[in-house]
């Protein structure tokens, strides 16, 4: 009787292979066969054994095989874990799936064969790198050792493998040709195959007992003892780990703010740390907390559950509680001096960053007050002056010099500064391109003049004002007009859905009494008496989408009508102010600008890209990095955006409860005339902390403990620092922790080699 023992990992197909071998032997010569597995707690990757007995007569032993004639090793890494060679008969044979030479396994009284079954199987698409299905190849190799015809082997494989019969047959053929080791027939094995059981006529008195050899190699713990000695980590095919995937709030913030991070710190009531974290990217938290369209909130995954977080209110709270204390100026460490033209958010951010890096920086501002569009374009009822003053003051305290009332061009600075950053913004109103254009005032000018000079342009109580446009400027103009006692109506050529203004601002404007007529566009303007303008309007309808993907509004013929209003103010967009570059036309773009003079000039802010404070801050951060690299002679690479933002599909919403959003309270007096008080009020500390509790923590572990609770192997623990950790000695890679992680803060990858 021939006895063969196999060692493999669950999933490699060894049990099927041994059954196929049994079938091959039974067809070969009317052999009696017996093939069976010995499973542990069966699972993919676990070490398993299989046994095969082949005999001419009835097999009278139904126990495991302790003294095989042949040992077959499907997975080389088992040699480290399981005493696979235990009990091999003298002159017995071993067949190992390996790339290593036969001599690596040689020993006296042992015949060694090797076959690169993993390479053969993977080459034919059988299994995966982490779990190659090598059974057909191993059968092929055994066929070579027993000199069985390939035809019979392939036919039996074809009839018995669960999938890919052709590839399996080919694997057997290739393996049969790839066996290394002794040539010719193995007399020992063939003799065992044909040997008849001998009667020994022992007396009971002659009995002696060999303790069966340990062939399992797995220290299985007793049920009531700790399972710690059963290190099952090596069964693992996939490896889970804690990961830090970007949250949509973070990846959406043009300024680059770690939104998730400051929300978490706020929830822990670490307000100073939270502010510090914001400040790394954004020097204007109080401002952004008020005027930002909150890109972070727009894709907040909580929107799928109830409403996104009120991140603006959290940021505002943190910014507003910043201590007024003296900030230590950053020491100047470099000799290069940098000039920034324009004190808007881009210019100030760039200046601050370079100042922090040790450059002497001076900002030149044409207007009498710093802040750019934040100062001149945003009305006080949205952004009080003192908020702006405070955040600019902090920048100045850090060491940035601001020279006001200095409208300068690049040329005149080039001699005094090593480098100039132009961030002069986009504040020149776009033309309407209609007849009577000259009778419309410019919205952005209107806002600036009123803000800086308190010049209401002669607007008087009860005057009808038509505002053309749908952006924030149009809405701000309308609300300012309302507060000056006028009667504003916004005419917008598309619908409310397409309105580029911040939706909340539109809502507030409408609540205040601003009328908005949608799908209405101006056709012509004409003077009508000393204080009136005739405005011809047409109705529009939405046509086919244009290049931007938005549906293009087209006039509806025959719907023109004329109205008389006291004033028409256009607010249909702004273009860049390029005076700083001199008379030659320049195409502004983010970063380095090629000028004829060869001066070192960089560009940032609205004139380069964007149109919001947050985008300008991001632009300022970016240009500062580029300028620093340029001055230090280092290469500059834009930071790549992180991959795989956590999306709603990655969130396990079942683990979150609906919680009402904390909205900002609004200041809406009955009579708005002359009332430029801030409309939106902030949240108090309690509300802010409560709001942060709504964060889903997308892509970031927040120690919810689901992984610990669900891990069936108790392979997760909390370390000394209170962090969740996986003990890879025991993690079998079931993946349940990854599945049950509420916020996609865990991932898994295929374990490349099972070791």
């Amino acid at each position: 009787m021939l006895e063969i023992r196999g060692h493999a990992r669950g999933g490699q197909g060894m049990v099927t292979a041994f059954e196929i071998l049994a079938k091959i032997f039974s067809k070969l010569g009317n052999f009696q066969v017996q093939a069976f597995p010995a499973f542990g707690v069966e699972r993919t990757g676990a070490p398993i054994q299989a046994f095969l007995r082949v005999a001419k007569k009835e097999i009278l032993n139904r126990s495991n095989i302790y003294h095989p004639h042949l040992i077959v090793v499907f997975d080389e890494s088992l040699l480290e874990q399981v005493p696979v060679f235990n009990g091999l008969q003298k002159d017995g044979a071993v067949l190992i799936n390996t790339e290593r030479p036969v001599t690596d396994f040689s020993a006296p009284d042992r015949v060694v064969y090797t076959v690169p079954a993993t390479r053969i199987s993977l080459g034919l698409g059988l299994g995966s790198k982490s779990l190659p299905i090598v059974n057909a190849a191993m059968i092929g190799a055994l066929a070579r050792i027993f000199e069985v015809s390939l035809e019979l082997v392939q036919e039996t494989i074809r009839d018995n493998v669960p999938a890919k019969p052709e590839a399996n047959m080919e694997a057997a053929a290739r393996a049969l040709r790839s066996v290394n080791g002794a040539n010719g027939r193995n007399r020992f094995l063939i003799e065992a195959l044909h040997a008849q059981p001998q009667k020994n006529h022992r007396k009971v008195e002659d009995l002696h007992f060999d303790v069966p050899l340990e062939i399992n190699g797995m220290e299985t713990p007793f049920w009531s003892e700790p399972s710690s000695k059963n290190k099952t980590g090596n069964w693992r095919l996939i490896t889970p780990s804690y990961s830090d995937r970007p949250a949509p709030c973070n990846s959406n913030c043009p300024a680059g703010t770690d939104v998730r991070g400051f929300v978490r710190l706020t929830s822990e009531q670490k307000f100073d740390e939270a502010l510090e974290l914001i400040s790394r990217h954004n020097p204007f938290p109080s401002i952004c907390g008020r005027v930002c369209p909150n890109f972070c909130e727009q894709n907040c995954n909580r929107n799928e559950l109830d409403r996104g977080l009120n991140i603006g209110a959290i940021e505002r709270f943190l910014g507003d509680r910043a201590p007024e204390g003296k900030i230590k100026p950053a020491p100047v460490r470099h000799k290069e001096r940098v000039a920034v033209i324009g004190s808007g958010p881009a210019g100030l951010t760039a200046a601050l960053r370079l100042c922090e890096k040790g450059y002497s920086t001076t900002v030149f501002e044409a207007l009498p007050q710093a802040g750019g569009m934040m100062r001149a374009g945003i009305p006080k009822f949205r952004l009080p002056d003192e908020v702006l003053d405070r955040e600019i003051r902090r920048i100045e305290q850090k060491g940035v010099k601001i020279e006001l009332n200095k409208k300068v061009a690049v040329e005149e600075l080039s001699s005094r500064f090593d480098l100039v950053i132009a961030a002069t913004g986009s504040h020149i109103g776009s033309p309407l391109r209609i007849e009577g254009e000259e009778f419309a005032r410019d919205g952005i000018n209107f806002l600036r003049e009123f803000k800086l000079d308190h010049d209401a342009d002669g607007l008087h109580q009860g005057q009808e004002v038509a505002i053309i446009g749908g952006g924030n400027t149009a809405v701000d103009v309308a609300r300012t007009v309302l507060r000056l006692g006028g009667i504003p109506t916004i005419y917008y050529r598309r619908t409310i859905k397409e309105m580029p203004a911040i939706a909340q601002e539109v809502k507030e404007a409408q609540m205040e009494g601003v009328k908005i007529e949608f799908l209405t566009a101006p056709v012509a303007l004409a003077p009508a008496g000393p204080s009136q303008v005739a405005l011809t309007l047409t109705e529009m309808k939405m046509g086919e989408p244009d290049e931007s993907g938005r549906r293009r509004p087209i006039p509806v013929p025959g719907t023109e009508r004329a109205i008389l209003v006291g004033r028409v103010i256009k607010a249909i967009g702004q273009r860049a102010d390029l005076f700083a570059f001199g008379p030659k036309p320049v195409e502004p773009q983010q970063g380095y600008i090629e000028l004829e003079s060869g001066a070192s000039v960089f560009c940032a802010g609205d004139m380069a890209w964007g149109g919001t404070v947050a985008e300008a801050i991001g632009s300022g951060n970016k240009v500062a990095e580029e300028v620093d690299a340029y001055l230090r002679g280092k290469p500059y690479h834009e930071k790549e955006t992180l991959p795989e933002v956590v999306l709603p599909k990655d969130i396990n919403y079942a683990y979150y409860l609906p919680m009402a959003r904390h909205y900002n309270k609004l200041h809406h007096p009955r009579n708005l005339t002359g009332d430029f008080n801030e409309v939106a009020r902030g949240l108090d500390e309690q509300e802010v902390v409560a709001e942060t509790a709504r964060c889903l923590h997308c892509g970031e572990c927040f120690n919810c403990g689901n992984c610990i609770n669900f891990c069936p192997d108790a392979a997760i623990h909390v370390d000394e620092e209170g962090r969740l950790r996986i003990d890879y000695d025991y993690c079998k890679g079931c993946g349940i922790c990854v599945q049950e992680c509420p916020c996609s803060a865990m991932q898994f990858q295929l374990t490349e080699a099972v070791l």
Binding site: V33, R62, N64, E147, S149, I190, V204, F209
Partner: protein, 404 residues
């Protein structure tokens, strides 16, 4: 035609197709014990199969599901929500006159305990395979505690030594169950049988059909034209009568099982008995008593020990008292009986010892009990030799071998 399968190596005898002369109208295949059980259910034309998976039985019901899907078995196959439901469905179908088959193991059988009683006491014939495994501490390996603990539910119980015997016994069990209106359980060992691929002879369908006629619905069967109620409250005087009838039927079962096993031998060429005696004679000093797959290993060991014999129990319920007494009759009064128990029922002796004592009440034979292989612990030849050794050297009445 003889087909040469070797290139130049092994000397070949006639290949399989020509060797089928051993059992005419059979084909020989290599298959797992669980597949042999499923194959038997197919050959017996089981008409209703409720199923619920549990290791190590699962591949039986999986294979049956394939056979039904492939159109090789015309049966109603239903996935149930638990073993309790499986047996309840089995009971309902049997009341309806269907030939019912299912399989379970360990916890599944324990869970079905209540319905096992009901099926038996409703006198509903059916055959169920149990692949033995114990309960707690959690274990999936070979052990007969599950089925042996159900010995008092009123079911007939057979234990098979090989895949062939399981297949053949299922056929016989249907004949017996339907003749005495008592359900029968055919037990095979986990892994050592259930997952072991070995040579099995599969009889032709018409051979089986002639041995096992279609099920005849009895007067108890549901007939929509003759409405009856089932499962109502039975007053004491009727209950008494029902149990008396059951007792009479069970008393006939032992002899009937023997008769059917003999008929089976005549019909299929493989004779069986309720017990099998090997090397039991006046010179025999020790007889090992076994059930199931350990028997094979004992056969192998005692070839070398002429003074040791073997008594294999194939039928366990009703316990084959007559057959046991007959088999042991040739022994001298100094002979010793050693019982191998792969079960533990919470008492001093194992289940087989208890039954053997009952059967041999009043006999002078010394009897020793040996727990071995409980919870799937491997029983290699050396363990059997240890039992032999201990049986001759101051054994306790009850002994544990190889306690780790």
């Amino acid at each position: 035609m003889k087909k040469e399968h070797s290139q130049n190596g092994i000397t070949l005898e006639a290949p399989l197709e020509e060797s089928s002369g051993k059992y005419p109208r059979h084909i020989q295949v290599v298959m797992k014990g669980n597949y042999a059980a499923a194959e038997a259910a197919r050959l017996c034309r089981a008409g209703f199969i409720p199923a619920y998976p549990i290791t190590p039985q699962t591949t039986i019901v999986e294979r049956l599901s394939e056979l039904v899907t492939e159109g090789k078995l015309d049966a109603t196959y239903i996935n149930m929500d638990s073993e309790h439901s499986v047996f309840a469905a089995a009971m309902g179908a049997a009341i309806g006159g269907e030939r019912v088959f299912t399989a379970t193991a360990g916890q599944g059988l324990f869970y079905a305990h209540e319905v096992l009683q009901a099926i038996a006491h409703f006198r509903l014939p059916m055959v169920v395979c149990n692949v033995g495994r114990p309960s707690i501490p959690w274990n999936i390996w070979s052990d007969q505690s599950d089925s042996l603990s159900q010995r008092d539910t009123g079911w007939i119980q057979f234990y098979g030594e090989s895949s062939q015997e399981v297949l053949d016994t299922i056929i016989q069990a249907y004949v017996l169950a339907e003749r005495v209106n008592i359900p029968a359980m055919v037990v095979l060992d986990a892994f050592y049988q259930s997952h072991t691929s070995e040579n099995v002879w599969i009889p032709d369908q018409n051979l089986v059909d002639r041995f096992l006629p279609p099920i005849q619905p009895g007067e108890m069967a549901i007939d929509v034209l003759q409405p009856k109620s089932f499962g109502g409250l039975i007053p004491p005087e009727h209950y008494n009568r029902l149990n008396y009838n059951y007792w009479k039927a069970m008393n006939q079962a032992e002899a009937m099982a023997e008769e059917i096993a003999t008929d089976f031998g005549a019909h299929f060429g493989r004779p069986y008995g309720n017990v099998e005696a090997v090397n039991i004679g006046p010179e025999t000093r020790l007889v090992l008593v076994t059930i199931s797959s350990i028997t094979s290993t004992v056969r192998g060991v005692i070839r070398d020990y002429p003074e040791v014999g073997l008594l294999k129990l194939r039928l366990f319920k009703p316990f084959p008292k007559e057959a046991v007494k007959r088999a042991l009759a040739p022994l001298s009064k100094n002979a010793v009986i050693a019982i191998v128990e792969r079960n533990f029922l919470g008492d001093n002796e194992g289940a087989i010892m208890q039954e053997m004592k009952r059967a041999l009440y009043g006999s002078d034979l010394r009897m020793y009990d040996f727990y071995a292989g409980v919870g799937g612990k491997d029983v290699p030849p050396v363990t059997i030799e240890k039992i032999i050794h201990r049986a001759f050297h101051q054994p306790e009445e009850v002994n544990w071998i190889d306690v780790g």
